[in-house]
Symmetry: C2
Amino acid sequence: MNFADTLIKAIDKKQNPSIVGLDPRIESIPDAIKEGKNPAEAFLEFNKGIINAVKDTVPAVKPQIAFYEQYGVEGIKTFIETVQYAKSKGMVVVGDVKRNDIGSTAKAYANAHLGEAFGLDAVTVNAYLGTDGVQPFLDKTTEGKGMFILVKTSNPSSGELQDQLLDDGRSVYQAMAELVNGWGQNSIGEKGYNSVGAVVGATYPKEAERLREIMPKTIFLVPGYGAQGGGADDVLPCFNADGYGAIVNSSRGVIFAYQKQGGEFDEAAGKAAQAMKDDLKTSLRKAGKWPW
Amino acid sequence: MNFADTLIKAIDKKQNPSIVGLDPRIESIPDAIKEGKNPAEAFLEFNKGIINAVKDTVPAVKPQIAFYEQYGVEGIKTFIETVQYAKSKGMVVVGDVKRNDIGSTAKAYANAHLGEAFGLDAVTVNAYLGTDGVQPFLDKTTEGKGMFILVKTSNPSSGELQDQLLDDGRSVYQAMAELVNGWGQNSIGEKGYNSVGAVVGATYPKEAERLREIMPKTIFLVPGYGAQGGGADDVLPCFNADGYGAIVNSSRGVIFAYQKQGGEFDEAAGKAAQAMKDDLKTSLRKAGKWPW
């Protein structure tokens, strides 16, 4: 099935356009889990607990590979096992890997992450190199795979390059958005959305409004909600009037919720995921963008 | 030691400003090496053969991690063992990983690749996210580590975003070059060069000339020589008048030389590395840019 359709189906099933970032940090893993394990082993047990706690509420998870790479081979093993576990629980898995390279090398990345080795449903991609670095990922859309391309990122200094104004009045991120919109035209699913998504930070709602116009049928992956400062109202412009077109990520705010709210880490994560859904529901309903 | 000084010292020792890309492809590995091994094991034996063949001629190697990631955990194991082997032979090792993310995640990448897990001397970085995504890598320059940031890449479609003109007359890649030049000011070594390098494709010599002016003391990592179509004359603008400031990469042209020239793969690679050195020497000498 077309990736956009797979994702929307999963969102419909949970009635929840959100995604949980699996970004484990050893200092934030409960001691009881760390005991007698190396960090990679602890990450895996932690992730399984989180996945079990959120799988009935949340349609997708987004493991951030950087945190796993820190532990070398063992870390990558945990990353792959996390992907497999989440898929076995019926979740869509987006690898936050931000890979990018020239064509022949990008093909190796696409094979690695969307193929057998890592088995992800979709990945994040940095398209600073243009079409030929993206093409190998686009080629995978015919196999039901997808991607989210960095357009306007959530971090404070994202504007240094992305906000630069071009001589035709567009910004760099708007130029990127037009490329992304074009790349998506060959993978349009039944719902009208396509498999070439965009990363658009919740921390820049005004920019998101304009980006929604430039990429009308692109699914936005929206980081920056929660720990990074974005609220549910900030993500509204990322959604279309039909209530689709975006999936909002929270990482620390869900997986480490126990640190603020106490209790068991998995229960706290489950509650935080539910609270995030409720929060999004309230804002989206008010805006007439809740489709269920 | 400051990374720029380490690299220049290695270049001086071999009197050769070149670097060999370790980008193994299973279909191009000799059958005798593949026999009885999985691809990751074959890659390691192949890489060791290449490293042994070029180590007396070439100062540095650049393993491209995408090719290793294709084989999951086993591939990463080979990547790490390749890094260790090359370092044990006295080579500088630049990981072509093009990592990038927001600050807290970029820190995990910097720890992973420039720290214990992967142990690289330097990495390539994509700076589409601006300063806060680069800072964790900059922080590692005080530990003798370095980086090469994508400025003008060698691929055909690099211009789609990188060549866009800003309203102040600069191109996007020139704006990136100015950022890179700024980021390098805190890691200037004894030779005047700094630890924050730039990736500048050999396939765009005219652009390189202007970039040399914008980043006078930045070391350019120059892909695109050989298989991608760049010749020794094309890389001349990447070098300063003192004959320093660039290191030219060849991957396929060296490591798979046996496919064109016959003979044993390692001997052919050694000869190709020597031929590349001679080729650079001839052009640089003619231009008065050969320092030895």
